[in-house]
């Protein structure tokens, strides 16, 4: 069974997966539920850093701790394949759209594209 790609991922090409629709669908559902969504692991220090970054900007992100989720493992694997990275967390979605891991988030903050994105998603007000 092939995963039906949803447009929310934008330019990302989702890999074809067999019988793995659930995790990614879940991720997509969770991601579009709030303006800023962070997938994290409670013991991960880089996740802690990214949370502090958003809080420092005055944003209130929705955080899903995968190690506290019953299907956390599946979600982690799904995220890993989504990112094409060895580490699943932290991952940030803004306005339902995938932004990326810490390096992408920080790069977009430095080049000034993060704040407009947050405002557009309604996570930041002037």
């Amino acid at each position: 069974m092939y995963y039906q790609t949803e447009p929310w991922a934008g330019s990302y090409n989702l890999p074809t997966m067999t019988n793995m629709g659930d995790p990614l669908q879940r991720i997509e559902r969770m991601a579009s539920g709030n303006a800023v969504v962070i997938f994290s692991v409670s013991t991960c220090c880089m996740c802690h850093a990214i949370k502090r970054l958003f809080c420092g900007m005055g944003v209130n992100p929705t955080v899903y701790e995968l190690d506290e989720d019953s299907h956390g493992n599946d979600l982690e694997k799904a995220l890993m394949s989504l990112l094409g990275a060895s580490s699943a967390v932290p991952v940030v979605f803004i306005g339902g759209k995938l932004v990326g891991a810490m390096d992408r988030v920080m790069a977009s903050h430095i080049n000034g594209s993060l704040v407009p994105l947050l405002k557009e998603a309604g996570a930041l007000w002037l």
Binding site: C44, C45, M46, H48, R52, M106, A107, H109, G112, L114
Partner: protein, 439 residues
């Protein structure tokens, strides 16, 4: 007036103790004022001579040296034209004679009036070999002094004192310069030692218990060498940029140079990535930097927000849009730094918890599996250090690139020069500090 005996071996007898005026010239010329002034010149042969004597001085200084080498032998000391009693401090260099000379000073000057007397004496003592200077027992026969002569005496005394002061000042200056040269040499030596030691990965500061760990691994050594090479190339590029800026080259040429420096910066971040993979602790420790740089280091490198603060006043004039861009950049880099710092704190806290966990202690249960388990967890946490260093370097790189994007070519050139100068001075400060005299 100090006695010559107070001096350390006078280096230049010939210069200092030129008795020529007395010996050669003074004898011939009117044996009064001239001669007496010459006495004053004993210490400072080159100064304040009467013109006619000055000439002789130069000619005869060597002669005098020869003469006074064995001071006393053939001085026809009377020919020194000294009023007797004017303890002339002569040839301190002839050690044997040091003790024989009285302080030349007041007494000498005061005897000015005796010249006419002594001149006569000199004539008569011409054939005497052993008097005067040698024995330092020149006695003034009479003491009548007119007021006019008193004035002259004071003037002469002042002159003599000035000369003495000038000479001392010259000696001090010479000593100071020598000390400076010595310090400079020492500084260069220390720098070289430091560089060498750093390349060998040896901890410079302090002695740690884990001496074995402090010897650099191959990774550390390789990185240090890479960094040294990178720094050299960086200085070269910066110098080229500075020349270009100062000679007001066109924008196109300047852009090429600026782009060159920027891509060279990319190179160091690439090198740091490689170095971190082989020895993350070496990179984080900052042992590859100078002490001052290390002190103010943040997560294995410079602080982007700090650099922007340095540039704040140096980039004018800025358009409003540029100003806003720079302000935003400063704010966002500051926020990113804070976030990463807090992440590092969380990491340390987490490690503390892991390592201080109960099951790690040598308890009765002695649960090795638990111990190994906790250690494995701790190892996992340590592994994230590389990620933090990587993120910090990314932050630095992106801040530089964004700054480059906001500024014009000329502004960017100036910014790069300012940054480089700051780093260079910080490094120089290290060297100065290391070479400072310790009391």
């Amino acid at each position: 007036m100090q006695s010559f005996k107070a001096l350390a071996p006078p280096p230049t007898n010939s210069d200092m103790y030129c008795h020529s005026p007395f010996y050669l010239r003074g004898y011939d010329s009117a044996r009064n004022q001239t001669r007496f002034a010459d006495i004053g010149e004993l210490e400072q042969p080159a100064v304040g001579f009467h013109q006619d004597d000055a000439v002789d001085l130069s000619r005869s200084s060597i002669y005098n040296n020869l003469q006074f080498g064995g001071l006393g032998e053939n001085i026809g000391s009377d020919e020194m034209m000294l009023p007797k009693g004017a303890g002339m401090v002569v040839g301190g260099g002839s050690s044997g004679n040091n003790g024989n000379f009285e302080n030349w000073g007041d007494s000498g000057m005061g005897e000015h009036s005796q010249q006419t007397d002594t001149s006569t004496d000199v004539d008569t003592d011409d054939r005497n070999q052993s008097h005067g200077v040698q024995h330092g027992a020149l006695v003034v026969d009479s003491m009548d002094q007119s007021k006019g002569r008193m004035g002259d005496q004071k003037a002469l005394r002042r002159l003599a004192q000035n000369r003495e002061a000038a000479r001392k000042s010259r000696l001090r200056k010479k000593a100071y310069v020598q000390q400076l040269e010595h310090s400079r040499m020492k500084l260069t030596q220390l720098e070289q030692e430091l560089q060498r030691a750093r390349q060998q990965g040896i901890f410079i500061t302090g002695v740690s218990g884990d001496q074995s760990l402090s010897i650099g691994t191959n990774g550390a050594l390789a990185f240090d060498m890479d960094y040294a090479r990178w720094l050299e190339e960086h200085q070269r590029l910066i110098n080229d940029l500075r020349l270009a800026v100062n000679s007001h080259v066109g924008d196109n040429e300047l852009r090429v140079l600026v782009d060159g420096v920027m891509s060279h910066y990319d190179e160091i971040f690439r090198l740091k990535g490689i170095g971190a993979k082989s020895d993350v602790f070496h990179l984080l420790s900052g042992m590859w930097k100078t002490p001052t740089e290390r002190c103010f280091m943040w997560l294995g490198g410079f602080r982007s927000s700090e650099l922007l603060k340095i540039l704040e006043n140096q980039l004018e004039p800025l358009t409003d849009q540029q100003l806003m861009g720079i302000c935003n950049l400063q704010q966002s880099s500051q926020q990113a730094e804070d976030a990463l710092s807090q992440g590092m704190e969380a990491l340390q806290q987490s490690l503390v918890e892991t390592l201080s966990s109960n099951c790690l202690g040598p308890t009765g249960s002695g649960n090795v599996a638990d111990y190994m388990g906790q250690m494995a967890i701790a190892m996992g946490k340590l592994a994230t250090l590389e990620n933090f260093l990587h993120q910090a370097d990314l932050l630095r790189q992106q801040t530089l690139q964004q700054m480059h994007r906001i500024l014009t070519t000329r502004q960017a050139a100036r910014a790069l020069l300012v940054i480089s100068d700051y780093m260079t001075r910080l490094r120089a400060l290290s060297s100065l500090w290391l070479a400072r005299p310790k009391d």
